[in-house]
């Protein structure tokens, strides 16, 4: 008799692993996950944290989305940039965000960045840069797909991370001014956009300071499509035709459906 209340098990839910293994044995090939390719950066400046990301989402060698959003909301004072499998970063960040909200309601306090970092346990293909401003000041952490975390003053992740890191290593200093820091983040992302095939399109920037968040979606658009040089439309009548056959598809009232 079911009179015991089911308390949800803590930790990652592995139920789907067995289902997937079973399906694979049956011969079903698992869908290839869409990766985000990606260049994401995070850096500390004098008054807070800046997160930057490109906007290209890839499916193999095809660009699936030319302007996707890779910087996700976690809490009013915390945002997260995600690299890796697109579905995993979406789900991981929405899971972290909902857990943070429950935690905030339970404790009655502003969420801390370190709390968000410890919620993600790995087991998914998501590499995250979590940045925020809490009671202990600005916080910047990254989480790798297996769950290891780093605390650094500047970081880059994704396929374009090496290009972005080279810009950050040469120009980051302690206590950067707000405008210099934004330029640095933009240049780091642009290094990824132009030198990494998995990253491209536009630059998104998020600036998180004490009690203030500025979301600059498409802060830089270095890849806008040029205006076409001429109109490539064909005039009516350009293609000659031999036969014309018109069929009325609009059914007027009273016509019965042919069910023979």
């Amino acid at each position: 008799m079911r009179d015991k209340i089911e308390i949800p098990k803590s930790g990652f839910n592995f139920d789907n692993y067995r289902r997937n293994a079973f399906l694979e044995k049956q011969g079903l090939s698992l869908p290839k996950p869409i990766k985000t390719g990606t260049t994401i950066v995070g850096l500390l400046f004098k008054d807070g944290v800046i997160l930057g990301a490109d906007t290209r989402s890839t499916n193999g060698t095809i660009v699936a989305n030319k302007n996707c959003e890779k910087i996700h909301y976690l809490a009013p004072n915390m945002y997260c940039a995600g690299a890796g499998t697109a579905a995993d970063t979406e789900q991981a960040t929405s899971m972290i965000s909902s857990q943070l909200e429950l935690h905030r309601l339970a404790t009655g306090r502003q969420a801390r960045v370190i709390t968000a970092v410890t919620i993600y346990q790995g087991h998914m293909g998501a590499a995250l840069i979590i940045g925020g401003y809490d009671i202990s000041g600005p916080g910047l952490f990254n989480v790798h797909p297996h769950g290891s975390t780093d605390k650094l003053p500047f970081m880059a992740m994704g396929s374009g991370s090496l290009a972005a890191m080279s810009i950050l290593e040469s120009r980051w200093t302690k206590d950067l001014e707000r405008d210099d820091a934004i330029e640095l983040a933009k240049d780091a992302i642009e290094a990824g956009i132009f030198n990494d095939l998995g990253s491209g399109s536009n630059v998104d920037i998020n600036i998180i300071e004490k009690d203030k968040v500025e979301v600059l979606r498409n802060y830089a658009k270095p890849n806008e499509r040029a205006v076409k040089e001429q109109s490539y439309k064909y005039k009516r009548g350009a293609t000659a035709y031999l036969k014309e056959y018109v069929r009325e598809f609009i059914v007027t009232e009273g016509d019965a459906m042919d069910i023979s």
Partner: protein, 202 residues
């Protein structure tokens, strides 16, 4: 690595975390606090060791509250061993537990991959340790002073860093004794330079 000296222990580590051949963090802190006077040196998978250290830290906090006294280094080491041995198929973690407690003074326990427990007066671990077994065996002395122990650890880690590709960056050291913990940081460009070959251009 960790070394016992008169009155405590000195622990040290390099600061490099790698993802294949890319250095994902060049200023990592591999000396992780487990309790007020118990630290662990982490090697192997960063994700595995961070998780295990967090778990042991939680249990040590509970122990301290329940017993109204700080746990011994041996207790922390035994718990690390339990986690590492029982989950040996899923983990890649080499951990050195070192600290100071009232009844035993400075103590060191090495828990290599596989989950065995070894109490030793000094111990080294990690990929770079292979290169410094000779140096350590030749230069270790029992009952060193604090200064001697710090020099020993700093030199040994520096030598390992210069030979092992997976080790590098800077050197972090912690001195744990009755009075508490003292952390030190030595930037990579301020470390001693040992033999690095001849300059062939002249």
């Amino acid at each position: 690595m960790a070394v016992e000296f008169q009155g405590g222990v000195v622990i040290g580590a390099d600061t490099r975390t790698t993802l294949g051949s890319y250095v994902s963090n060049r200023v990592t802190d591999k000396l992780t606090p487990i309790h007020d006077k118990i630290y662990c040196c982490r090697s192997g998978s960063a994700a595995d060791t961070q998780f295990i250290a967090d778990l042991v830290r939680y249990y040590m906090q509970m122990y301290a509250v329940q017993h109204n006294e700080p746990p011994s280094v041996r207790t922390a080491a035994a718990l690390f061993q339990e986690l590492c041995y029982q989950n040996k198929d899923y983990l890649l973690a080499g951990i050195i537990v070192a600290g100071w407690d009232k009844h035993n003074g400075g103590t060191i326990y090495n828990i290599p991959i596989g989950g065995s427990l070894h109490r030793q007066p000094f111990t080294i671990g990690g990929s770079g340790s292979s290169f410094i077994y000779g140096y350590c065996d030749a230069n270790f002395k029992k009952n060193m002073t604090q200064e001697e122990a710090v020099e020993f650890v700093k030199n040994a880690v520096t030598l390992a860093m210069s030979r092992d590709g997976s080790s590098g960056g800077c050197v972090r050291i912690a001195i744990i004794n009755e009075d508490g913990v003292e952390m030190h940081f030595f930037p990579g460009n301020q470390l001693s330079v040992f033999y690095e070959g001849e300059d062939t251009a002249s």
